[in-house]
């Protein structure tokens, strides 16, 4: 009976899972034996003081760094075993925007589409930029955009990337109230589409299916 249950609906299967992970930065142990599970349709909000290890946890979950002990699993499979498969479903946005200042918003977007192996047409790229209020600024080099506008380029990337797992480090930083709403809507859409999200933020969030982890 249990065997049948565990193999049935996708949505109840925990998808991203950390088992007993320990993180050490330098000499200091940030957290130890941490377990967490995020299933699709859920959003995990990681909170905590500065320096408590939020970003480190996100980097562990994305596979950028390896935990001191324990492991991270995607659909029951360690993310180290099939890293490329996990990466194809993952969108990680760190605290640096990873946009090329000398290229335009459109060029950045299309470049990432090529690197992430997603096909987007010129039209889709334009539409996604326009959706986030960058109409008329598609061909401006990113160095001319404000911090909030750069974040909006990243929101366009989140939309076009079509990834199942979103790992976002402080996604609400530098956004105006309007953009905060738009980003929340974007995350809600993502969760409805069977995606899952793990994010850090110092603001309280109004999202459905939100779970909070205090580090």
């Amino acid at each position: 009976m249990t065997a049948i249950n565990s193999s049935t609906p996708q949505s109840t299967v925990p998808m991203l899972e950390a088992r007993a992970i320990t993180c050490v930065r330098g000499e200091r142990e940030l957290f130890s034996k941490l377990d967490l599970q995020v299933s699709s349709g859920e959003c995990l909000h990681i909170r905590g003081e500065n320096g408590v290890g939020k970003t480190s946890l996100l980097r562990l979950l994305s596979g950028l760094t390896a935990p001191e002990s324990g492991d991270v699993f995607w659909n029951g499979e360690s993310i180290k075993n099939d890293a490329l498969d996990y990466h194809s479903k993952l969108l990680f946005l760190g605290h640096r925007d990873a946009l090329k200042e000398d290229l335009s918003a459109l060029e950045n977007l299309r470049l990432y589409a090529a690197i992430d192996g997603v096909e987007i047409s010129e039209k889709e790229a334009f539409a996604s930029l326009w959706q986030f209020g960058l109409k008329g600024r598609e061909d401006l080099s990113v160095s001319c955009l404000s911090a909030g506008q750069k974040k909006r380029v990243l929101m366009a990337r989140m939309l076009t990337r079509r990834a199942q797992v979103w790992i976002l480090d402080e996604p609400f930083n530098a956004l105006d109230t309007q953009a905060v709403h738009e980003l929340q809507d974007l995350i809600v859409q993502h969760l409805k589409g069977n995606g899952l999200a793990v994010l850090t933020s110092h603001q309280p969030l109004a999202l459905p299916q939100l779970r909070v982890l205090d580090l």
Partner: protein, 221 residues
Amino acid sequence: MNAVLAIVKRDLLLVMRRKSEVLTALFFFVIVTSLFPLGIGADANLLRKIAPGVIWVAALLSTLLGLQRMFAADYADGTLEQLVLSPNSFASLVFGKILAHWLVCGLPLVLLAPIIGIQFDLDAQSLKVLMAALLLGTPVLSLLGSIGAALTLGVRGGSVLMSLLILPLYIPVLIFGAGAVYASSVGLDITGHFSLLGALFILALAFVPWVSANAVKIAIE
């Protein structure tokens, strides 16, 4: 494959937007190689003799000038993290970056070489051999250099350290590259030199992207 091409295209585009950095390396090559004939004077025999060595050493140094740029900017703005997390093998993306570096810093040297060679009174045969040797040797310089660029990521004073790490590795390329030109100018067989340069190229091509990719991964951990 698409992603590799995208990386090459992006790096070339970035270079086009900021031409000064690349032009500096090329001017360095032209100026250094022009200083020798000016300083030594019109002793054609001596110039012919030192030409291969001088041109090759200048090529090594000007390659070195562009190396620091290979990963540093992507490291600073977080792009490298995105590349590591892309669904393509990271080694292939690193290969794309090395290819772009060679197209910008290596290929122009090959094309400039005959003009530089004339200043040293090299004959047509030697010029051809010089170009061929550079064509085979400069990719090795870009490949080996990427290891140094990756290992010194995020290190303060990294460019000096990188020169110390990389220049010794360039010695075999220098010996066989300059040797081929010298051998041809005195009428010796050059196939041995080219075989060895080819072997270095194939070895570097097989292992270096993987080594550099791992060095970058360590740097961003």
